[in-house]
Point group: C4
Chain length 275, copies 4
C-alpha cells in the first residue's frame, strides 16, 4: 500500500470524524470542539478582569496558545479533507474559522495597544463556530422559520415604535428641557426607549408634573404594545406546530384527521398501514 | 403640439411618478422621498445637540433649506397633478405636507426664541409623510385589524390598570408618607405606574417594611397582568391568520367565507365541487 | 290622581332612569355618574398636592360637598325606587355607595388629623361605583371568564415564583451579606422580587462577582418565566374565542361547522334558516 | 389482640393519615403540614432581621425546636409505616425530610459562626416538602408538561441570548471602556443582561453617545425577543389544552387518543358508536 492510498485513507477518516456527526468519533469531536470554544470564550472574558489577569497572566497566554494551535490544526484538517477547499475557505464558516486563529498570530507582529485590544476581541468570533455545530442547528430550525414568517409584521412594528420614540422624545425635550437632563432630542429619544421598553435605568427621569404624566402614558403604552410582537410570534409558532402534521389521507375515505400513531382510520375503520 | 397639451402631458407624467407606485419611476420617487424624510428627521434631532450645532450650524441651515425647497416642489406638484386639489389640500396628508414646509418659511418672520423652538419642532410632523408611503401601508393592515378587533378588551384592561393604580397609589401615600418621597397621591400614582409596568426608575422607592411588602405585591401583580393584553392580541392575530386562507369564491354568489371542507356554499347553497 | 299614585309613578320613572340603561335618560344618567366619579377621584388626588391645596382649598371643599350631596341624593333615590331596599343596602354596591358619602359627613365630627386622612382616603372607594356601570360590565365578561379558567394554573405559577424568590433571596443574603445592602433575608427577597419581575429599582444591587452571576441567572430566569402566565392566559382567551361559536347543528346532517352568517349548510346544502 | 397486631393496626392507620389524601384525616394532616412549613419559613426569614431577632430571640429558638421535633416525629412515622423504608430514606423526598430536621441537631455540636449560618439556611429546604403535597402536585402537572415539551426550543433561545450577551458585552467594553463603569468584559456582560432583560438597575449606564445608541438597540432587541419564549410556551399550552379533552376509552383496546368526531378507534379499528 503506497503513500498516496494511505493519504487518501487518512483524508477519508478525518472527513468522517469532522463531518459525520452520527458516528461515535464525530460526536466526540463535536463535543470536544464545543468545550474548547466555551473555554476560550471564558478565557477572553477573564483576561479583561484586571486583578485576575495580573495573577495568572502567563497561564492565560499559554492556554491561549494551546487553543490557537488546536484551532489551527482543525482549520488545516478541514482544508485537507474537503474536496473543494477553496469553496470552504471563502465560505462564512471558513472565514470565521480563519478569524478565530489569526488574532494570536497577528499579536506577535503588532505592538500598538489599542489595535491589539480590538484584534484580541476578534477572538470572540469563535463563538460563531458553534452555529456550525449539529447539536445546535437541529433545534433552531423551527424557531427560525417562525421568526422569518413574522418578519414583515415585526419590521412594521419596530418602525412604529421608532416613530413613536422620535415624536415622544421631541415632546419630552420641549416639556422637560435641558435643566432636567433632557439635554437634546437624541438624549430624549434615548430616555424614551429606556422607558418604553420598561428598562428604566433612572439616570434621567422626568421632574415636572407634565413630564411625569407623559412618562406615565409612555409606560402604559410600552406595557401594552409589548403584546404585539408576542402575539405575532405566538401565532406563527402555533401555526407551524399545527401545520407540520400534514398526513396522508385514508385510502378509503380521504380523511386526514387522525392521531399520528393511528393504525386505523377513525372515520371509516379502514387500515392505515400502507399509506 | 400646443402648450396646453404639453402641460396636460406633463401633469399626467407627474401623476404617474407620484402616485403609481408600481412603475419604476414611481418606486424610485417613493424611495427618494423616504430617504429625504429620514435625513431631515436626523437633521432636526442633531440641531438640538449643542456641540454639534455650534460646529456645523451653517451646514445644517443650508441642508434644511434644500429639504424645504424639495418638499415645497413636491407639495406644488401634488396640487398641480391632482384633479381635485382642494380636496387634497384639506385632507390629512395635505395638511401634514403643508406643515412640513411651513416652519422654515415662518422662521424667517418670527424671532421669539420659544415660539421658534416649538415651530421648528413641527418639522418632525414630516415623519407622518411616511404613513402615506405604500412600502409601509401594505404591511401594516393585518396588525391594525388585530388591534382594532381587540380594542374593546384592551380598553377594559387599561381601565382596570388605572383603577388599580389609583387605589394602590393612595394606599402607598398613606403607608410611606411625604418623608419617603411619596409627596402626594398623584406622585404615588406615578410611582405605582413606574412599578406596575416594571420600568422601575428607582428615583422613588419604598423605605418602610410595609411599603416594601405592598411594592412586592404590586410587582408580582404587574408581572402577571402583562399576560392579559398579550393574550388578547395573540388570540386575535391567530384568528386573523387562520381566516385569511384565501379560497376560491362560490360561482353562484361570490362568497369566500366557508369552511375548508365545505361541499356547498353556506351563503346560497350552490355546490362548491368544481371551483 | 292621589299622592300615592303620583309617588308610585315617580318611583317607576326614577327606577327607569337609574336601572334601564337602554333608555335615553338611563344612558344620560350613567354618563353623568361616570363623569362625577372621575371628577371626584381627581379631586381627592389633587387635595394631597400641597401647593395646589393651599391655593384652592376652599374651592376644593365646596366642590367636594356638592359631589357628596349629589351622591347622597343618588343613594336615597336608589333606596326609594327599589322594591327590596334592605337587600340593596347590605349588598356590595350598597355598601360602596354608603362609604362614598359617609367620609364627608364623618369629617364634620372627627378632628384627629391621622384618622381624618384615612377616612378621607375612603372616598376613593367611589371608584368601585364604576364597576356597577353597564358601559364597563358589558366588556369585561370575556376577560373575567378567561382569568377564572386559568386561575388554577396561575396560582401554581405564583406559588412557584414565591418559592424561587425565598430560596434565591436566602442564597443572595449568604453571598452578598449585610455590608452590600442585603441586610436581612426579607430584604433579600424584596431585592429578588424587584429583579425577577424586571422592575429593577437599583436601590440595592449586587456588588460581589458571585452575586452578579447569580443576579444574571435570576434576570434571565425572570425574563423566561414571564412566558408562563402569558401562555396560560393566551391559550384560555383563544379557547373562549373559539368555543363561543356554539351553533345549532344542521337538521339534515348534524353539521355544526359553518360560518355564523351561513344560510345553507356547507356539508349538505340544506337551508339553515329555521334552526 | 397481641402487641404485634396492635402495632400493625397502628402502622396501617398512620399510613392512611400520611398518604391517603382523600380521607378526612389525610386532608387535615396535609393542611397542618403545609401550615407548619410556611410558619417555619417565616421563622427562618425573621431570624435574620436584626432588630426582630434581638427582641424575640428566645421565643424564636423555642418555636424552632417545637417545629424540629414535629418534623422529627413526622420523619420517624413515615419510616415506620412504609413497607420499604430504605427506599424512602434515599429517595429525593426522604433526603429533603432529613435535611429539614438535621440543622437544628447539628447546631448543638457546631459552634463556628459561618458554618452555622449556612447550616441554618439549610432549613429552608423544608420548602421542598411542599412539592410532595397533593394540593400542589395535582395542579402543576399540565404546566410541567408544557414546559418539558418546549424545553428544546427554550434551550436554543437561552443559548442565543447568551451568545448575543457575550458579543454585545464585548463591544460595549470596547466602546465605553473602564472609565464609564464597564471595567471588564464580564462586567459588561452583566450590564448587557441587566439591559436585555429590561431590569435596568442603573448602577452602570452608558455615557458616550455611541454607547447609548448601542444600548437603545439592545433594549429594543430585548423588548422584541421576549416574544420568543412567550410564543413557544403559549403554543404548547394551547396544544395541551386541546388534547386533554377527556374521552371515553375504546371498549376494545382502551385507547383514548382519537379525534372527537371519530367513528372507529384509530388504534384497533373497533367501532366507537356506543361508548
Amino acid at each position: 500500500m503506497g503513500f498516496s492510498s494511505m493519504y487518501s485513507e487518512f483524508r477519508k477518516k478525518v472527513y468522517i470524524v469532522i463531518y459525520h456527526t452520527n458516528t461515535r468519533a464525530g460526536r466526540l469531536f463535536d463535543l470536544i470542539l464545543l468545550g474548547v470554544i466555551l473555554m476560550c470564550v471564558l478565557l477572553v472574558m477573564m483576561e479583561t478582569v484586571a486583578e485576575f489577569d495580573q495573577k495568572y497572566h502567563s497561564y492565560l497566554i499559554t492556554l491561549e496558545w494551546i487553543i490557537t494551535v488546536f484551532f489551527t490544526i482543525e482549520y488545516l484538517l478541514r482544508i485537507l479533507c474537503i474536496n473543494r477547499p477553496i469553496r470552504y475557505i471563502f465560505s462564512f464558516y471558513g472565514i470565521i474559522d480563519l478569524l478565530a486563529i489569526l488574532p494570536m498570530y497577528l499579536s506577535l507582529f503588532i505592538t500598538g495597544y489599542n489595535i491589539l485590544t480590538v484584534i484580541r476581541a476578534l477572538r470572540l468570533l469563535r463563538l460563531f463556530k458553534i452555529l456550525n455545530n449539529p447539536h445546535f442547528t437541529n433545534h433552531s430550525n423551527k424557531l427560525r422559520r417562525a421568526l422569518i414568517a413574522s418578519r414583515g409584521k415585526i419590521v412594521v412594528f419596530i418602525y412604529f415604535v421608532l416613530i413613536s420614540t422620535i415624536i415622544i422624545g421631541s415632546i419630552m425635550y420641549l416639556v422637560e428641557g435641558k435643566e432636567n437632563g433632557f439635554t437634546s432630542v437624541p438624549m430624549s429619544i434615548y430616555w424614551t426607549i429606556v422607558t418604553l421598553t420598561t428598562v428604566g435605568y433612572g439616570d434621567i427621569s422626568p421632574q415636572t408634573p407634565l413630564g411625569q404624566i407623559i412618562a406615565s402614558f409612555v409606560m402604559i403604552m410600552g406595557y401594552g404594545i409589548i403584546a404585539v410582537p408576542t402575539g405575532i410570534v405566538s401565532a406563527e409558532i402555533s401555526k407551524i406546530s399545527y401545520n407540520k402534521e400534514m398526513q396522508n389521507p385514508c385510502i378509503n375515505c380521504d380523511n386526514t384527521n387522525y392521531p399520528s400513531n393511528a393504525k386505523f382510520c377513525p372515520q371509516c375503520g379502514h387500515s392505515l398501514e400502507n399509506i
